[in-house]
């Protein structure tokens, strides 16, 4: 005789499934998302450990072997200074991740804070925040970054040099930080408005849900309600946006490097490699193809992962 489980008892015995574990199960069933996740993991691994594993140093030049085509000893060939392109692409991954993570982090912190406050409290605060986001979004991105970098870089650098000469304080000696600060800062400055808008819209819809009134009826403070009831419920779409945003930030950094306002040589970045490769692509296509392909792959992977997360974190939309 077979034992038929009583309906309803299964749920009593089954261990509690958390929302995240549930989402993970759904994500694993999505092939594109798994592909995206795998590529992102490999790239992240490359960014962390790659520079220690490459056969060549990304800076060492070998003028006897310039512009070599891809071969077994140089997987992606060499560039016009005889540097190993594969090693440079690997190191560029680190630059891309560094820029993407720092920029997205700053943008998310600004965007979530402003968006959540605007959506939750409304009124004049909302109007000011929305006015700020609209204003920021109305300025052409590239133009803003070019203006910031062009106008601020040399005065800050020369100020630091004069401080160093006056005080001999080593803090002022290293001007490479100015470079990073300006690139990160200006990119974050143009990247936060979409996060702010997204979070504001989420918060507006969550604010009117019954569990918020219930939390207020429990006498909880606005701060607790915002941090524990509103923001966690707004997180799903935000995670999706961040995943896609990381890819966008990488593309953006490449665009700026391409224009010469991004990370400066000799630090390898996919963008300045593409920019260098573009000048000679008719003769040495591999110099353009290698960094461009990796950038494209990274961008597509983040986008697939974002889509997969969207479906996984939104159970009602899935299936």
């Amino acid at each position: 005789m077979s034992v038929v489980p009583m309906p309803g008892t299964a749920a009593e015995i089954e261990p509690p499934v958390s929302l995240w574990r549930d989402a993970w199960h759904r994500l694993r069933r999505n092939k594109l998302a798994v592909f995206g996740l795998a590529v992102v993991v490999i790239l992240a691994f490359t960014a962390l450990f790659g520079p220690y594993l490459t056969p060549y140093d990304f800076l060492s030049q070998d003028l006897n072997s310039r512009n070599l085509a891809p071969s077994l000893s140089h997987l992606f060939g060499t560039d016009d200074l005889g540097r190993d392109v594969f090693s440079r692409v690997v190191y560029g991954t680190r630059t891309a991740f560094l820029v993407a993570i720092v920029v997205t982090f700053i943008a998310v912190v600004i965007g979530v804070t402003l968006g959540a406050l605007a959506g939750f409290f409304g009124g004049w605060l909302d109007r000011i925040v929305m006015w700020l986001t609209d204003m920021t979004m109305s300025i052409p991105n590239l133009l803003l970054v070019v203006v910031i970098n062009a106008s601020l870089k040399s005065p800050i650098t020369s100020w630091m040099e004069s401080r160093y000469l006056a005080t001999l304080n080593p803090v002022y000696r290293e001007t490479i930080w100015v470079d990073f600060l300006l690139v990160f800062g200006s990119m974050a400055l143009i990247s936060w408005p979409p996060y702010a808008r997204l979070v504001r819209a989420q918060v507006l819809s969550i604010r009117s849900r019954p569990y918020i009134t219930a939390a207020q009826a429990l006498g909880l403070t606005n701060r607790i309600i915002l941090m524990r009831y509103v923001v966690p419920n707004a997180l799903g779409p935000l995670i999706v946006a961040v995943s896609a945003g990381l890819g966008t930030a990488m593309v953006l950094e490449s665009a700026f490097s391409f224009l010469g306002v991004g990370v400066n040589p000799p630090t390898p970045s996919w963008g300045n490699m593409i920019s260098d490769g573009l000048r000679v692509w008719q003769h040495y296509p591999h110099l353009l193809a290698a960094p461009a392909a990796v950038l494209g792959l990274a961008s597509v992977a983040f986008s697939f992962l974002g889509d997969g997360l969207n479906d996984a974190l939104n159970p009602r939309g899935a299936k």
């Binding site: 509690p16 207020q216 607790i224 524990r228 966690p232």
Partner: protein, 344 residues
């Protein structure tokens, strides 16, 4: 159990001290055409240890009165006049931080829809612990232990194991039990139940009513039960206030109300409850028309346009709530009913 040790008024004090005393509360909503009155100078009170039923059809201001009393409504809806005294302090004049101590601490809420009134991304145990940590200053471990006790108190099987469940893993009835446990977490003096059974099926409804009745007797708190279902709460409440268009039209002990419904609206409500003894072919009785929209309140008695007994005076003046009989415990706001009684 910890709760029972607290000092509570004896049930005999039901006729005594007023725990909640709402006087002339007027609530307005901002509309495109300017402010419109939704609740017009409502008076109601709850004595210590008493259970009050608030009854009326949808949109007559039942929930609105209770929510706005606790200042839980959006800015568009404002209390413009009147006071709401809880334990002798006016909730309308209280500072926000004092009010927060009353909410959840002294006054517990149970909401209509258990499906959406729990935070979907927070474990049940945490949601129960939140008010305990905030109002009672408990440590996380203490609050968790207490949360387990509360779940047991509201009759959730395997209470301790349920603490780590998310709301979506529980059935509607279980979730409403969790809501009740949250409402009771800080051992409130007053529990406001805002149509807590509307979203549940009939067998579960009865269970929830019995549960609240049981807990009330155990913990000795006052209860305000908002509903549109007179029959459901007949065995639970001591007194019923019938609301129509934001005013109390009849206030009576539960037995007196069922024995001698005096306001035509109350009579209509009672007549519209289907009876088992009815023939199959009997048409369900209903009250024609709809309640007045905010901003379009009639000049006289708000019920006059729908009232089968309306007279000329009903369209001219607003009747006040007057006591019937000797002790005046049964009060009604109706010219016709009041005159009938004087004649008798």
């Amino acid at each position: 159990m910890m709760m029972a040790n607290d000092i509570r008024p004896e049930p005999s004090a039901k006729t005594g001290e007023r725990l909640l005393d709402v006087k002339g509360l007027t609530i307005e909503i901002d509309t495109r055409n300017g402010p419109a009155t939704i609740v017009d100078g409502i008076d109601l009170h709850v004595n210590k240890g008493e259970t009050l039923g608030i009854v009326g059809e949808s949109g007559c201001g039942k929930s609105l009165t209770m929510l706005s009393m606790m200042r839980l409504l959006p800015n568009k809806i404002k209390v413009t006049k009147g006071e709401a005294n809880f334990a002798g302090r006016d909730l309308q004049k209280m500072s926000n931080s004092d009010l927060r101590k009353v909410r959840g601490g002294d006054v517990g809420f149970i909401f209509q829809d258990p499906m959406t009134s729990l935070n979907p991304v927070m474990r049940i145990g945490q949601q129960l612990a939140e008010p305990l940590i905030y109002h009672r200053g408990m440590s996380k471990a203490e609050a968790r232990k207490r949360a387990g006790e509360l779940l047991k108190l509201v009759g959730i099987p395997g209470a301790e194991d349920r603490l780590d469940a998310y709301p979506h893993e529980l059935s509607g009835g279980m979730r409403q039990r969790v809501m009740i446990a949250i409402g009771l977490a800080c051992n409130p003096q007053l529990l406001i139940a805002d149509e807590p059974t509307t979203a549940l099926d009939v067998t579960i409804q009865a269970q929830i009513v019995d549960l609240v009745k049981d807990l009330r007797d155990k913990l000795g708190m006052s209860v305000v039960w908002i509903t549109h279902d007179l029959a459901l709460i007949a065995g639970l409440v001591d007194r019923i206030n019938v609301l129509y268009a934001g005013t109390v039209v009849e206030d009576a002990p539960v037995d007196a109300l069922f024995a001698n419904p005096s306001h035509p609206y109350t009579q209509g409500l009672l007549a519209s409850i289907p009876k088992l003894s009815d023939e199959r072919s009997t048409r369900l009785s209903s009250i024609g028309g709809t309640p007045p929209e905010p901003g379009r309140r009639p000049k006289g008695c708000p019920f006059a346009p729908r009232c089968p007994l309306a007279e000329a005076i009903c369209h001219e003046r607003v009747p006040s709530l007057e006591g019937l009989g000797q002790n005046g415990a049964h009060r009604v706001a109706c010219f016709v009913a009041q005159r009938k009684l004087e004649a008798a």
